[in-house]
Amino acid sequence: MGWLSLLASLPSNEAVRTAVLVGGIAAATSSAVGVFAVIRGQSFAGHALADLAATGGSGAFLLGVNQFWGFVAVAVGAAGFMEAAGVERRRGRDVATGIVQGAGLGLAALFLYLAAQTTTRTGATFTVLFGSMFTIDPSGIPPLLGAGSVALSTILVLSRVLLLSALSPELATVRGVPVRAVSISYLIVLAMSVALSAVAIGAVLSTALLVGPAATALRVARGPIQAMAAAVAIAVGATWLGIVLAYVSYAWPPLGHGWPVSFFVVTLVVLPYALTHMFRRPRPRALSTAQSSASVPQP
């Protein structure tokens, strides 16, 4: 079968429809949340949560539970722990997170090994770590859509207080913003979006949807709303195009073995970022020095 006829059969394929739905919501949520992760300097936290989600996903697989719940439980739990441990203490944070991350991945290795010994399903390791949008069970779609909508609407509702507390936590406190509660809510939303992306493109790669589109958006858009819109467009576009390419790749060598969809998605996320670096936007540095002299108010 040639790739053109494959392309023609794409809209009627059940697995593709599921992938488009789940991938779309995961991409939109992660990228919108990711813009704030970058603004708040928490992309590192997102990366740590992604690694720990692998532990949850493999544990869930071993127990025979839907992996999404494993991703969510461990990521949200870890987010709560990170907040309790004091995210503001930067120096201790890196070391502590590094150790917890290592321990988490060690456990994931154990869970995946045990699962491989006791079940007949192969490819579990690959699915947990690198995702497989085409093998998502349609019965699992409603909780994924639910989690995505909750995370996305929380981000939209909190957007202003998130920006204000990123600008200066003290300014936000003075204006009556409960900064701690906002910070905890954000970490939970971050954990949920990491779990969603883990389902779509795998636990290890989920940071790609979180940070990649956001990083590109920060280079092309100047305002916060524009940056969020750009990040969502890049992420959803990359995910959907990735699905199409992965589907069509069944016609590529090695024949009959499609390329992993996560590979295409991550590549399509990284590509625009690389492009923005090639065509670098000049920083209006000169503006500062040239205009400050003109803007001295007359006493």
Partner: protein, 281 residues
């Protein structure tokens, strides 16, 4: 200092306020009144307690003794009538936050949901930026601006909520001389034209001397306030520091100098005391 305003007019009254942080008394019996339209300089060496006074007024630190009355006791929330300008921002230069977004957050950054874009809102932001001389860089990212430009934007952020009192924490630190002068004259103009009160902390009083109505001199957690010529005197500051200091005037600049060989006191650091009114940074 007391008696110039009726209690109803007073924006802030601190009576014998003490603050303990981590078991250490960082403010001891500080009294201070801020009336409408006053330009007050909060002067003293680093670590003297200037920031703690500002934070106590804003309700960011609890007071352990004394009383703090906001607007004659008529108000309990200070979020709208007090504007705060923090010392500096630690925001990523790449953060997608333009100057106009920062000022917009001053209007309703504490609210949930999205602001609806409107012509009135855009116009208000433009006017506020123009009033601090920052309208030229409305579309620049906040992280791309120099320290002086960021201070102007933060002042606009505070002003757009129409506060009665502006509290600024060391806004002149790390500014070059020209930016320093332009920020001071901007603040003086706001006090004159809009009847806003200003409480500004600084370790160097000299740029503020021409515009201050009153000075609150802080050393070792204690404060003396009054007109500059009443407070910046060898006898008053010697009493405040707890050891002898000289006040020297050279070329229109005031220097506060610790005498050599002075017995070291635990509450002050002689190294920082030796010359407080340094020229420049």
């Amino acid at each position: 200092m007391a008696g110039a305003f009726t209690p109803a007019e007073e924006l802030v009254r601190l009576d014998q306020v003490s603050v303990r942080l981590d078991g250490r008394e960082v403010l001891r019996s500080v009294s201070l009144v801020i009336g409408p339209g006053e330009f007050i300089g909060l002067i003293g060496p680093n670590g003297a307690g200037k920031t703690t006074i500002i934070r106590a007024i804003l309700g960011l630190v609890p007071i352990s003794r004394g009383s703090l009355v906001i607007e004659g006791g008529t108000r309990r929330r200070r979020d709208r009538s007090f504007g705060y300008v923090p010392q500096k921002l630690v925001i990523d230069p790449d953060a997608p936050l333009r100057v106009r977004d920062v000022v917009s957050l001053g209007l309703d950054g504490h609210r949930l949901g999205f602001p609806l874009p409107s012509r009135a809102r855009r116009e208000l932001i433009r006017e506020t930026l123009a009033s601090v001389g920052a309208d030229r860089y409305a579309d620049a990212r906040i992280g791309e601006l120099s320290g002086g430009e960021q201070q102007r934007v933060l002042i606009a952020h505070a002003l757009i909520a129409r506060p009665r009192l502006l509290l600024l924490d060391e806004p002149l630190a790390n500014l070059d001389l020209r930016s320093e002068q332009s920020v001071v004259s901007l603040l003086a103009r706001l006090v004159r034209e809009q009847r806003i009160s200003v409480l500004i902390s600084a370790h160097d009083m000299n740029p503020l001397v021409p515009v201050m109505d009153r000075i609150v001199y802080v050393a070792g957690g204690r404060a003396a306030s009054g007109r500059a010529e009443e407070v910046v005197r060898s006898d008053v500051l010697t009493e405040l520091y707890g050891h002898h200091v000289d006040v020297i005037r050279v070329h229109d600049r005031i220097l506060v100098v610790a005498s050599p060989g002075v017995e070291e006191h635990t509450t002050t650091q002689p190294a920082e005391l030796s010359v407080i009114g340094r020229a420049g940074a």
